[in-house]
Subunit: 414 residues, 2 copies
């Protein structure tokens, strides 16, 4: 098949997204929900603050007593209920702690550091006291019944605090996918000179973890239909199945046949891209009744990596009710970059600079590979650039760089 007639990268992604489903929401402990998307809108079940709250350590006074000396008649600590039940009489004050209930009738809190007691129980109230100072009235932050966080919000530390504030220890979220990873190939882990190490499983497992997939199930599979069938049979619970290797034209490339036997329907096979042309994607309904997306990634680690970044990651994001798009930056290309003649090229690059710099500019430096499977040079990449067939991007031109999953900018020591 001439490369020009292969499926375009945009059409391939569109086909994957058309079949990408969203998870059903389910309840998880708030402390483990960081970065997940809320599956419910949560309302305050009571006013906040739930009582008139002192916001400083000091003295609760009547506003009308500004400029007068009043008598200290007691104290209210935070969490201290009895004392607050008694209304404050004119001409008196109580010592009060941050977070405590302001007694009825009190209209201001005079901070501790703003006054000196005349005698132990005589308080000169400054004339500058203003009504309501350092008091947060019941319900001023939120009223019972008001939505405090909404379905679709991402759970951040502040959202976790808010959920705790309204009494939620667990909350409905769109949960992470259940992932199975099958590395095929007799050469993987084989002893002797022709054996090679399986780099795809650790790489894909770390990619999955970086997207909050808790424990991907991993299988190593030899180049026989029987071992492929048996491993696939253990994947009924998975929502997404990733295979590596065995999708090209070789005599030992049994993945298409095994997937057909498993009842998977092909969605696409071969994409006009470099690397990763032999990509195969299929769909299936699992024996447990849920939809499955199955990705046959090439065995070349850089091709498998691209397949994950470009097609698997968007589907996983949709599953978690997030935008399929990666984070991206506009960047200046440091050196010229040429694409393949007939295929869309996805080139690895290192992004540097950004908002921490004076001009906030990002620089994208293409990674030079020593061969199409050179994982070692690729290790310094954190972003992906796209070059159209036959296109050459000049040094200094502006490009869009997609952050690689698992490499989202974190300042490093240079």
């Amino acid at each position: 098949m001439a490369e020009e007639t292969l499926l375009s990268v945009d059409e391939a992604l569109a086909r994957v997204l058309a079949k990408a489903v969203r998870a059903d929401s389910r309840c998880v402990p708030v402390e483990r929900a960081l970065g997940l998307v809320l599956g419910e809108t949560v309302c305050a079940e009571r006013d906040s603050p739930p009582f008139d709250r002192a916001m400083m350590d000091g003295y609760a006074v009547h506003g009308a007593d500004a400029g007068r000396t009043v008598r200290l008649v007691g104290e209210v600590a935070a969490g201290d209920e009895g004392a607050s039940a008694k209304p404050l009489e004119a001409g008196t004050a109580v010592r009060i702690m941050t977070g405590a209930c302001v007694p009825a009738g009190a209209e201001a809190v005079v901070p501790l550091e703003d006054v000196t007691l005349a005698e132990e129980s005589l308080l000169p109230v400054p004339s500058t006291v203003t009504a309501e100072q350092h008091i947060a009235r019941r319900g001023c932050e939120t009223r019972a019944g008001t939505a405090v966080v909404r379905e679709g919000d991402i759970i951040t530390p502040l959202v976790a605090g808010t959920l705790a504030g309204v009494g939620y220890e667990a909350v409905a979220v769109y949960p992470p996918p259940r992932l199975a990873i099958l590395a095929t190939g007799n050469e993987l882990g084989a002893s002797g000179a022709a054996g090679i190490r399986d780099t795809n499983t650790p790489m894909l497992a770390v990619l999955a973890r970086s997207m909050r997939v808790p424990e991907p199930e991993c299988f190593r599979v030899g180049d026989t239909l029987a071992s492929l069938n048996s491993a696939l049979g253990a994947c009924e619970s998975a929502t997404h199945v990733l295979l590596t290797g065995g999708v090209s034209a070789g005599a030992y490339d049994l993945v298409p046949e095994a997937l057909a036997a498993w009842g998977a329907k092909p969605l696409l096979h071969k994409v006009r891209q470099k690397p990763g042309k032999p990509l195969l994607v299929a769909t299936r309904t699992s024996a447990e009744g849920h939809d499955q997306l199955i990705f046959g990634l090439p065995g070349n680690p850089l091709a498998a990596h691209l397949g994950f970044q470009r097609y698997v990651a968007p589907a996983l994001r949709v599953y978690m009710n997030k935008s399929p798009e990666p984070r991206r930056e506009r960047a200046t290309l440091t050196t010229a970059l040429s694409g393949d003649r007939t295929r869309t090229t996805f080139a690895l690059a290192t992004l540097r600079g950004g908002g921490g710099e004076a001009d906030a500019r990002w620089w994208a430096e293409p990674v030079r590979l020593r061969g199409s499977a050179d994982l070692y040079s690729a290790a310094k990449a954190n972003a992906l650039l796209r070059v159209e067939p036959g296109q050459t991007l000049a040094a200094g031109s502006e490009v869009v760089a997609d952050w690689l999953v698992g490499c989202e900018a974190e300042p490093t020591l240079e």
Copy 2:
């Protein structure tokens, strides 16, 4: 003490960083090391590829046979050692699979799809075959003894794959800190109208998790010296101790006294900032012999949050051998923002836009709080803005926005 004479926010951070130590490196499984910093330089222990590797499915041929018809004499599969031991004779070819050893003497691989066999064992070699095509020679990617990843590199999925490629299942990293969180206050979890929920512990625990701290130890402590002392006594293993509440001037603010009794040396107390002025930081040598940094954060959740973002997070990053700086962006302010008259104000904001937009511009919208402890409105924030004392930033002005820990940009569905 007049606020003008309080410690500046820059001096406070400098004092914390001066005492922030880096962890000793230790070995962890590669699959759990995402985002940590390598504590060793790792070298390839053999050439990669370890043999001359076919990069396509096809036929291994002699370059001199271009344009001739040659005889197929066998096949070599990936992982298949015996066959590759035999050198290829002129006038012959072998069927070869991607990832297999190219036989000695072969100088090119002709892809399967580029030829049609004349008869079952006769292969017309295209005249366009070029020397070395689709062969990755032994050692072309990396040579035995060459460094493939370096101390200081952050572990990404591609780095994990590289480590697997050189046989590493575990690797030395700068590990995450061991964190203890002590929430003080009789009002926390108290039943009845004066009780409030503890929002600080879940919020700080999620903040810690977002920085890869695995399981912070959490304690709830009443307002007595005895309960504080007892909880601190359980923190000897912690590298960093966070307390919330009890650091102001109130009669129940026992943290300074308890810390002194525990042998902690004050590093600073009170900072010219809003929120979070009562911050207290101390240092100590634990009974186990390691350095400890102790943060007395205010009880107000927004003040505790700021204290974590501004002082705790940089110390934790340094511990993991990362830059203390947060990720930041240049952004355009959407509405005017005024600072406190005498203190540096840290205002929460929502960052929107960025590299995914046509103009790559970020917009920072200050979050309007309904009171100084309004966690509910704060929940939509993902960034922090700094306003100097007495300063007003005009709408439309350019500001530097620090991403909040745990909120680093992730595209959301709008």
